[in-house]
Symmetry: C2
C-alpha cells in the first residue's frame, strides 16, 4: 500500500489532545508505503474542504512543544457527520490518496471513524481507520479512563481545594458547576482534595443519581447547620426523576444542533440554582443566605497544567494506534487499561470501533456513596492519575 496518512482532532479540546496528535505522527515513522502525514484543519471538515497541512516535516523539538500545548493544534469541530457527510469524508480521503485515517476524539468521533471505515470497506477502498480516545468526560466504554480526563480532574480538584478554603474563610453556600453532560466522573473529581472531615465539597450532585430539589435543599440546610457553610459540586448534567435536565428546566437558553440547552460557556445553571436556594432557604421574614455560584467553564479543559500521567498516556495512545496500523491492523479504537494500582501502571490495547462508537460510559455504582457523595473507592481510583497535589495547612 502506498499513500498518505491523515490525522484529525474533534469535539471539545483537552489539555493533552496534542500529545495524541504527536504520538500518531511519531508512531507512523517507518511505515512502509507512507508518503505524507497530513493534518485535517478542524477535524473532518478540513478533509472535505481540502484544508490539510503537512505534519511529518515538523522537527521534533517543535513536535514536543506542540504536544505540551493544550487544546487542538489542528483546530477542532462540533460537526456530527451523518452518512452523506461521511461519504464526502471518504471522497476527501480518496482525493488525497489517504490510506491511514486517525481521528482523535470522544464517542461521536469514534462513530464518525466507524462509519468512514464501513464506507471504505464497502467501496473496497483500502484504508486503515483508527480512533484515538480523548474526552474530559471520561465516558468512553472499555477505557479505565480516557486521555484528557486526568488533567481536567486535576484542575477541578485544585479549583475545589482553593475554593473550599475561600468558602471557609467567608462562610456561605457556594455552588460550583462542573462539566459533564452525561457522566459524573469530572464532577466527582471535586472531592479529591478533601483532607479533613469538614472540607468541601460537602455535596456532590452527579448525573448518575436522580436530582431531587427537595432532598437537595434539605441536605444543603443540614450542611449549613453542621458546618456553617456548604460547598457544592454540581454536574451540569444533573436530571430529575423523569430524565429532564435540571439545566433545561431552570434556564431557557440556546439549544445546539442536537437540541440540547447550552450549558457550557454560560453561568446560567449555577445562577438559577443559587436563586432557587436563596428563595427556599430564606426564613419567613428573614434574610436570604449568602449563595454564590461559579461555573468552572473552559479552564477545565484547557488550563495549562496537565497531569504528567495524562500527558504520557495520551502520547502513548496516539503512538499505539499508529503502530497497530503499521503492523497491518485494519481498524480499531485504543483503550487505556489499568495494570496495577500501586505502583500505578497502565497499558494501551486495541478494541473494536463498535465497542466505543456512540456509546456512553457512566460512573460505576461503587464509585458513588449515597445520593450526594463519592466513595473511597473512586478516590483511590482517581488519585494516581492526577499528579502531585498541593498540601494545605490549617490554623487549628
Amino acid at each position: 500500500m502506498q499513500g498518505n496518512a491523515v490525522i484529525g482532532q474533534s469535539g471539545g479540546p483537552t489539555a493533552v489532545i496534542n500529545q495524541s496528535l504527536v504520538g500518531v505522527i511519531e508512531g507512523l515513522r517507518g511505515t512502509s508505503g507512507l508518503e505524507q502525514v497530513l493534518g485535517m484543519r478542524h477535524g473532518v471538515r478540513g478533509l472535505t474542504t481540502d484544508q490539510l497541512t503537512r505534519l511529518d516535516t515538523i522537527a521534533q523539538p517543535q513536535l514536543d512543544l506542540i504536544a505540551a500545548t493544550p487544546s487542538a493544534a489542528l483546530g477542532s469541530t462540533r460537526d456530527k457527520p451523518d452518512a452523506a457527510y461521511c461519504e464526502r469524508i471518504l471522497a476527501g480521503c480518496k482525493k488525497h490518496n489517504v490510506r491511514w485515517f486517525f481521528y482523535i476524539g470522544g464517542n461521536d468521533s469514534s462513530d464518525t471513524c466507524r462509519i468512514v471505515n464501513d464506507l471504505a470497506r464497502s467501496s473496497n477502498y483500502d484504508m486503515h481507520c483508527f480512533h484515538v480516545p480523548k474526552t474530559i468526560d471520561n465516558d468512553l466504554m472499555k477505557n479505565d479512563h480516557t486521555p484528557g480526563y486526568a488533567s481536567a480532574a486535576r484542575y477541578v480538584a485544585k479549583a475545589f481545594m482553593g475554593d473550599n478554603l475561600d468558602n471557609a474563610s467567608i462562610p456561605g453556600i457556594k455552588i460550583n458547576v462542573v462539566m459533564g453532560r452525561h457522566a459524573g466522573f469530572l464532577t466527582a473529581a471535586a472531592a479529591l482534595g478533601r483532607a479533613h472531615a469538614d472540607d468541601g465539597p460537602h455535596i456532590v450532585c452527579l448525573p448518575e443519581r436522580t436530582f431531587d430539589m427537595d432532598a437537595f435543599t434539605a441536605r444543603v440546610e443540614q450542611c449549613v447547620k453542621q458546618f456553617g457553610r456548604c460547598q457544592i459540586a454540581l454536574s451540569e448534567g444533573v436530571q430529575d426523576k423523569d430524565g429532564n435536565a435540571i439545566g433545561a428546566t431552570l434556564i431557557k437558553g440556546e439549544t445546539d444542533a442536537h437540541g440540547n440547552v447550552q450549558l457550557s460557556g454560560s453561568g446560567a445553571l449555577g445562577d438559577q440554582m443559587a436563586e432557587v436556594l436563596k428563595k427556599r432557604l430564606t426564613p419567613a421574614g428573614g434574610k436570604a443566605p449568602r449563595v454564590r455560584a461559579d461555573t468552572l467553564g473552559y479552564p477545565q479543559r484547557c488550563y495549562p497544567d496537565a497531569s504528567p500521567i495524562d500527558q504520557s498516556e495520551a502520547r502513548a495512545a496516539g503512538r499505539f494506534a499508529a503502530e497497530l496500523a503499521k503492523k497491518g491492523e485494519r481498524d480499531g479504537s485504543i483503550a487505556i487499561v489499568r495494570k496495577s494500582d500501586a505502583p500505578y501502571a497502565s497499558d494501551t490495547v486495541r478494541v473494536e470501533l463498535t465497542d466505543v462508537a456512540a456509546k456512553t460510559r457512566h460512573m460505576p455504582d461503587d464509585f458513588l456513596d449515597g445520593d450526594f457523595n463519592v466513595s473511597k473507592k473512586f478516590i483511590n481510583w482517581l488519585t494516581p492519575l492526577v499528579g502531585n497535589m498541593p498540601k494545605m495547612g490549617r490554623v487549628s
Copy 2:
C-alpha cells in the same frame, strides 16, 4: 510595654495572604514585652466576639505549610466597621491587653486600621497599629503592586492562554469576565500570554476606560472579520460615560451592604453581555454568531498555584511590619516598591496609614493602549511578577 499582639485577615482572600500572616508571626519573635501572638477569627469580628486563637505556639513546619496555603487561614470578614464598631474593636484590644495590632487587607482594612489607631491614640492607649497590604485588585496607593495580585494575574494569564487556544480550535466569540470592580490591573493581565499577532485576548475592556456598547460591538465585529474569532477580557467593573456600572445596567441582581450589585459569584454579567452581542451581531434573517461567556470566578483569588515572587513578597511585607513595630514604630502601612526591572528586585517600605486608607489606585494611563488594549509597558511591568509561564507550540 508588656502585652499581646493580634493579627487579622480581612476582605477577599488571596493565594498568599497566609504568607503575610506567617511573616508577621515570624517578625514578632524576640519583641521585647510581647507575651502572646493571637489570631482574630474572621477579622475584627473575632476581636469583638473573643474569637481569638494562639499563633506563637505553632511549630515552624506547620507555619510554612500554612503560609503556602491559599485563602485566609484565620477566616476573613466583609464587615466594614464604622466608628462605633471601631470602638468595640479597641475595647477588644484593651480587654485582651493587645499592644500590637496587625491587619492584613485592602483599602477598607487599612481604613479600619487607621480609625482604630486614631481611637487608641485619642484614648491614650499605647498600641502599635500596622496595616499589611493584600489585594488581587492591585489598587492600593504607594505600592508598585500588592501581595496577592501577582498570583491572581498568573492565574488569569494562564487561563486566557489556554482559553485562547480553545477559542482558536472552535472559533467563535468568547467573553471572559475578570474580577476588579474599580481597577483594571487584573483584567489587563489577560494579555500577558500573547505570543503571536493573532493571539487573544483581542479586546481588553477596563474600568479605566469608558465602556461604549456601540464601539465595543464594532470592535468585536471587526475582530471576527480579521481573525474569524474574538476573545474578550471584560472587567467586571466596566462603566459607561455617566459612571454607571455596565453590570448593574445589564443585570438586576443582589446588592451588597454598600449598594453594589453582586458581580462575583455569578455569571450574570458575562451571560448578559453574550446575549447583547448575539442580538447585535445577528445579520437580518441570519444566524446568531457563537458567543460564549465564562466568569473566571473565585479560582482567580484562591487557585493553588501562587507566583513564587508574590509568596516571598507577601511574607516579607508581614515580617517587615512586625520588625517596624519591634523597632518602636507606632503605626503605618507597608508598601512594596520596585528597585529594578532586570534583574527584578523589590523592597518593602513604611508608608503612612492615611496614604492608603480608603483610597483607590487605578492603572496609569501609559499601561493602556487605546480603548481596548494594554501597552507594552504594562506587559514589561507585569512579566517579572508572575513566575515562569508555559510556552505554547503551533502547527504553522
